[in-house]
Structures are given as structure tokens and as C-alpha cells.
Symmetry: C2
Subunit: 226 residues, 2 copies
């Protein structure tokens, strides 16, 4: 299968590595490939420069956003929340009819730590993306987990926690659920409803951020006990 | 022990019944006792009129807000979110030095269903209450669970889920954690930090509301899997 991933940060890299490992063809999209390869500093999260990571993941092809969006049978939005909407708006044509798995969160670091959300409560980034790309089939998923957990959820209690999905297109959600089960080994998935339910999983970041401080690790996930 | 509870709705009644059962003295505060006893209609949530409930809980004393706040060694804010701040502002004197367990959520039903929050992201109801009553020792707790779960959390998987607490006063939090363990049988408690962490547990309501629809029951709780 062809997988397009938008964003070369920790989240994009984690999914890219996972899919290559599973034998898929991965196109990793960035704004300016030369610049991405030339960066030789760690990012704000302490991740190594892209070129360094890429040496160990040479099967991942670094391409433009448009190429990644065009090539993918399924496309991941692994962009930073703050640039997701503006970047995706230029990819309307390439993403028409495509399943767009939106992993991003509307985190606003501009006012210091802990971050707040730049959209919430009566709207969400998931909705804004679906609205800007009405012909893409947006499915919000994975955003309540750290990147390393997203691609290896069974490392916590054998996967005894929940993945939440939101989206307007029932078939797209069914395919994402299939991917989550077959490729990621996730067994416990809750379909919350249409894309407006992204508000809930994005707003959960407010407690996620504080739990990260309290637990002193980002390796945790939510389980709904009933 | 003397327990003061503010609010005669489902949440206030559940805690009142629990404490009477445990042998404590419970003063349940309301704005206008005569009116509360005279109401003969179910509330918006389908709960029976107060007088009907009270027939089976005669040990619960119905008093004014001020009397409940004065009498309680520990006081519960079980008021509807929308009236919590204005009501509590009149009880500054009575609540001085008291532990005020804030169970309320800032739900805004004025724009239809599902409700949104009237404060979130950069502020919270917990913070607003602490700010309006600087001498009260506010501890946000229990607000991520349905009323019946709050008072009987072990009915779900033997209590294998989490209670979150937020507050500025370490001693008050320690006492609330003791109450949660000894009186409610809760074993898994996460102290998120100061009262600003109420933002997280109040904002979790956005996904809580949607989970209620999806799961078709309000009897669920969050477990942090790590």
C-alpha cells in the first residue's frame, strides 16, 4: 500500500518507520526537502535532525507535501497543529476522495507552558480541516497518544486502552479502524461519531499535558472503564 | 463528621445519601427550602421531585446554603455549574478556611445539545471559584464521573479507574484523598497539581458527553493506563 505522511517531526517519523517495517511504500512530505535535510539541530522536543534519523530509514522517501498527498492511498496529517490548516488548504486537489488520518492537535505554545488550545469547545481542528477540504475523508484518530504509543500501542498493558475515532465518512472510519487493528494491533476502538466529536479528543489534551507532568512520562493512554 | 452539601440535584442527593449511610450528619443546602420541598415535578434529568426523594432520606436536613456551608467540616459544591460561582460568592465568610470539594462542571446548555463549556482552555470554573473565595480551600474532584459512580466507584471493575484531584492547598488535597479512599473506596487517585489543572478535568467533559451518547450509559470512568 502507498502511504503518504505530511510532516517530518516525531509523529510523522514514527508512522513512516512503522509502515516501512510493515512493507509499505512511504512518501514523507515536507515543505522544502533541501532545508529538511540540511537542518542539523535537534527540534524543540529534542528529536535528532531529520537527516540523522533518515540514515537509519532510507526506505522512507522524502518528497514535497503535494507528492506525498498524491501518492498515498491513505494520507496522514502529522503536521504541527499550528500549520496544519494552512498547509492542507493547498492540497485540496491532491486529497480529493482520500482518507486523511488527522493525528494533529491544536496546541498553542505561544503563551508559554503548559500549552493551551488555539481552537476548542465550539469548534475543533478536525472540523476546520474537514471544512477546508470538503472532498477529503477526514478521520481524527491517534491524537490522544504519544507518537511512540500510536505506532506500538500494545506496549502498554498489551493494548488494554482505547483509540478514539471521529469522522463524517463511515467507510473511511471503517478503513481506519481496520488499519488500527491489523497494522497497529489495537483492539479497543471507540467510534465517537461525526467530526464534531474531535472537540472531545482534542480537548482531552488539556488533561493529557498535565498528566505528562504528573506521571513524568508521555507513555500513557486513556481507557474507558464501564 | 458534619458534611455540608450545596445543591439538591442528583449529585447533591447522591453524596447526601452516601454520608448518611456512613453515619455522618448531613446538611443539604438550597436557596429556598420551601420552594425545594414544594416542587412536584421531575427535574430536566428526569430525577424525582426533592420531597419524594426526601421521604426515603429523612436524616438529611434541608437547610439554607449559608447553614450548610457553616455546619460542614467539609463542604461539597454540588451546584449546577452555571449558578455555582454566583451562589458561592455569597458564602465567602461561611467557607473561610473550609475544604470545599468542587464537583461542578461549567456545562452550558443554552446553545442546545450537546452542551459546551462556558469557561475552558485558559481558565476553569475551579479557578474562578478559588479566586472568588481566596480563603476557602478548593479541591476539584469527582467531576469526571456520574453522580452514582462518584459515591460508589467500585461498582465499575472493582474501582479500577482514576479519580483526579486539583487544588492549591496540599493539606486539603490530602484530606480529600483520605475521604475518597476511606469513604468511597477509591484506590487510584492522581493529584494533577494546583487548581489550574481543573482545566483538564473540566475539559474532559467534552469527550465525556460524547461517550455518554456512544456508550448509551453515563456509567463509565477514565483509567490512565501506563
Amino acid at each position: 500500500m502507498n502511504i503518504g505522511i505530511l510532516g517530518t517531526g516525531m509523529v510523522g517519523r514514527a508512522h513512516a518507520a512503522k509502515f516501512v517495517e510493515l512493507g509499505h511504500t512511504v512518501m514523507l512530505g515536507t515543505r522544502d526537502g533541501k532545508k529538511t535535510m540540511a537542518t542539523n539541530e535537534k527540534d524543540a522536543m529534542g528529536n535528532p535532525p531529520f537527516a540523522e534519523w533518515h540514515k537509519d530509514h532510507t526506505k522512507v522517501k522524502l518528497v514535497t507535501f503535494a507528492e506525498a498527498a498524491t501518492s498515498g492511498d491513505v494520507v496522514y496529517n502529522a503536521l504541527k497543529g499550528e500549520i496544519a490548516l494552512s498547509t492542507l488548504s493547498f492540497l485540496k486537489k491532491q486529497l480529493t476522495g482520500k482518507i486523511l488520518i488527522d493525528v494533529s492537535n491544536p496546541l498553542d505554545f505561544s503563551k508559554g507552558m503548559p500549552p493551551t488550545l488555539f481552537v476548542c469547545n465550539t469548534d475543533s481542528l478536525g472540523e476546520q480541516i474537514q471544512s477546508a477540504l470538503p472532498k477529503a475523508r477526514v478521520v481524527k484518530a491517534f491524537n490522544t497518544m504519544n507518537a511512540y504509543l500510536q505506532v506500538d500501542p500494545r506496549q502498554l498493558e498489551g493494548g488494554d486502552h482505547h483509540l478514539f475515532v471521529s469522522g463524517n465518512d463511515a467507510d473511511a472510519k471503517a478503513q481506519v479502524i481496520k488499519i488500527a487493528k491489523e497494522w497497529y494491533g489495537l483492539e479497543h476502538i471507540i467510534d465517537l461519531g461525526d467530526i464534531t466529536t474531535s472537540r472531545g479528543t482534542e480537548m482531552i489534551l488539556a488533561v493529557w499535558i498535565r498528566l505528562w507532568s504528573t506521571l513524568k512520562t508521555p507513555m500513557f493512554a486513556f481507557k474507558i472503564v464501564k
